[in-house]
Subunit: 245 residues, 2 copies
């Protein structure tokens, strides 16, 4: 049975000298001890990200990660204390960045529309940063996204803490929708977000079903096909749901 979840403060349990990444300068210098350390940490996280996204958190052992990253298992404990630490580090590495990008896109649009946002523009701003990264972010981001999809539709590890990293952008999204649809009821907007989230999540999850169903006419990771359709879909949905009485 999974040991009692202790999502908070896994890091404090560490007994070995903690790596102090804080003091390191922002330069991605290719030499030096600190740089090397950072590189191995990244390699470990890349391996963990990929394996976790495929097999789920409990389906991957510390040894699996160490093998794939080509380091000793003890090194994982040295850098991340324990398995929880690795998992959290994997999520935190990208969560902040993507949320910030969404926030930025929404703010940009809020400015550009001159106080008169419309649903389609809002939805597009909210969705685009993710699709952009799905297309150009390399395999790493796609693994991360699949992992998020896994965590999002379950209460597996990190269920509590990590999801909150995305909350601020969601609140901003709803705030803008309120401006665009002043007559819509509060709860309807929240349900609308829930539906957006579900469709988006499935888009980047590891789920090939549509390929079989459509007999190859749709490819599951054809993000260029998905993005515009999802924007139209959500726009129409929100307008419909926002018109409820």
């Amino acid at each position: 049975m999974p040991k009692p979840r202790r999502v908070t403060d896994t890091r404090s349990g560490r007994r070995k000298p903690p790596p102090r990444r804080a003091a390191a300068d922002a330069t991605t210098a290719a030499s030096g001890k600190a740089a090397r350390s950072r590189r191995t940490q990244a390699r470990i996280l890349d391996a963990a990200e990929e394996l976790f996204s495929h097999h789920g958190i409990y389906g991957v052992s510390i040894r699996d990660i160490a093998d794939r990253a080509d380091v000793d298992t003890a090194l994982l404990h040295y850098h991340f204390a324990n398995k929880d630490g690795i998992y959290e580090a994997v999520l935190l590495r990208r969560a902040g960045e993507i949320n910030a990008a969404r926030m930025q896109a929404l703010d940009d649009y809020a400015l550009a529309c001159g106080g008169k946002p419309d649903v389609e523009g809002i939805v597009r701003a909210y969705l685009h940063p993710v699709f952009e990264r799905l297309r150009n972010g390399g395999r790493g981001f796609n693994n991360f996204a699949a992992l998020i999809a896994l965590a999002n539709n379950s209460e597996l590890w990190g269920g509590g803490t990590v999801k909150e990293y995305f909350d601020s952008a969601v609140q901003r999204l709803i705030e803008l929708l309120r401006l665009a649809l002043p007559k819509a009821r509060e709860v309807d907007l929240y349900w609308g977000y829930q539906f957006i989230s579900g469709a988006l999540t499935l888009s980047y999850s590891r789920n090939d079903r549509i390929e079989g169903l459509s007999r190859g006419r749709c490819r599951a990771n054809d993000y260029a096909a998905i993005e515009p359709r999802l924007v139209e879909w959500c726009t129409a949905g929100i307008r419909a749901i926002g018109a409820r009485r």
Copy 2:
């Protein structure tokens, strides 16, 4: 590492006398050896269903299931050969029934509408059987649904085989949508289904986020609130996406 996935034919690997449920009569007789056997199997599956839906497949051990079902671990091997067998049995127990119900609902509507289906009616027919069971199917069905949500947004065990149990109803759904929207393009209907599926899946997954986001104004399992909104949402979305040029 998760042992090499062998989703197909886990049952054949069994080395002990297979339980022959085929010959059993349909009566749910409360006495007799076969009946007792069936009851314990059901208890095992109930336990497994609940645990799997919470912790994922790799997060649950055979012992966990045995403890909760209050039987010996060896009995699980006797009835289901191994962990894969239990997992598949959990899914198969309900997958056929829910798919058949959906099929029936779609057929009923196709008849009732007199050859002139409209999007809203189709969507409602497709969604209703699930929501009905989410409300009245007892905790067991809700566990099953959460497990499906988990499997649907990942490629964990059963990813290949089991999902296909739902395919026939989906094909029927799309067939009807084609009638309702003769000008829509094929691929757009498939993408539409994908978006429906995503939103629906998130609805019955174990994901409380909306409760925090809405500061308690929406409850994640308030299916009476979700169903009508989801119908409106999907109807509007499909119409929009079907009007693409």
